[in-house]
């Protein structure tokens, strides 16, 4: 029983070879095998805390898509096929290694997130793209978080600080601060 909106599949994909990315060229030369598994897999990503009219939201820093607390299907904005696609760059992204260099904390408004990816998965060398994404937990690991502060850039390019406590109250996902889970 599918209670979720299906990924957009009503538009035909663009012609093969048009707008091909490096991955598409690689897959064309090295076709991928498909296996079936009972379990999805966990992965790590950085998200951005965004404040709009007193609402706190989480966005993927790679796609700018809103990260919901419940399972959410990826939608391809390029070719409108089921995401992820092996000839495309769409899908929810995650790294296998929590300490991957691309996950090093930079801004206090970009916490680390562990997600569970299900449905169609494409395994890459260092990370995975998934169809369904469910957040498992948010890790506040920036040095500013230890001071109880998160600095967020507003659309006016002003920076506003708010407390870690306010973030925990507003976000419907378990938050880990300094090794302790806060709800």
């Amino acid at each position: 029983m599918a209670f979720f909106p299906p990924p957009l599949q009503n538009k035909p994909p663009t012609k093969p070879g048009v707008g091909m990315n490096d991955w598409a060229r690689y897959v064309k030369a090295n076709p991928l095998e498909t296996i079936v598994a009972e379990e999805g897999r966990t992965a790590w990503k950085r998200v951005e805390i965004v404040v709009r009219d007193d609402w706190m939201m989480l966005q993927s820093i790679h796609s700018s898509d809103i990260v919901n607390s419940s399972p959410t299907a990826a939608r391809c904005k390029i070719q409108h096929h089921r995401a992820p696609d092996e000839y495309c760059t769409c899908g929810w992204y995650g790294f296998y290694d929590r300490f991957h260099p691309q996950l090093v904390p930079f801004l206090s408004s970009q916490p680390l997130m562990e997600v569970y990816l299900q449905g169609k998965l494409i395994e890459h060398e260092e990370g995975v793209r998934g169809e369904w994404q469910t957040p498992l937990g948010i890790y506040l690991d920036h040095p500013n978080h230890n001071n109880g502060l998160i600095g967020v850039f507003l659309t006016s390019y002003n920076q506003q600080y708010f407390s870690v406590e306010q973030f925990i109250n507003d976000i419907d996902i378990p938050v880990n601060v300094g090794g302790k889970w806060m709800y």
Binding site: V27, N30, H62, Q102, K120, E125, V128, W132
Partner: protein
């Protein structure tokens, strides 16, 4: 875009299990449903010849 290396394998796994809410939705009785026709046809007043 994240740099996650070249694609290696496709895995098909089950979709997430959704547990629908068991809380029944109660509709207020005072609000008439415009899509429901009245049980008895509304009688139009007969025209009185002038």
């Amino acid at each position: 875009m994240a740099q996650i290396g070249v694609p290696k394998r496709i895995i098909e796994t089950p979709q997430p299990i959704f547990i629908p809410s068991t809380v029944p939705i109660e509709w207020p009785e005072s609000v008439p449903d415009p899509m429901v026709q009245p049980a008895e046809p509304v009688r139009t007043p007969e025209l009185v010849p002038a």
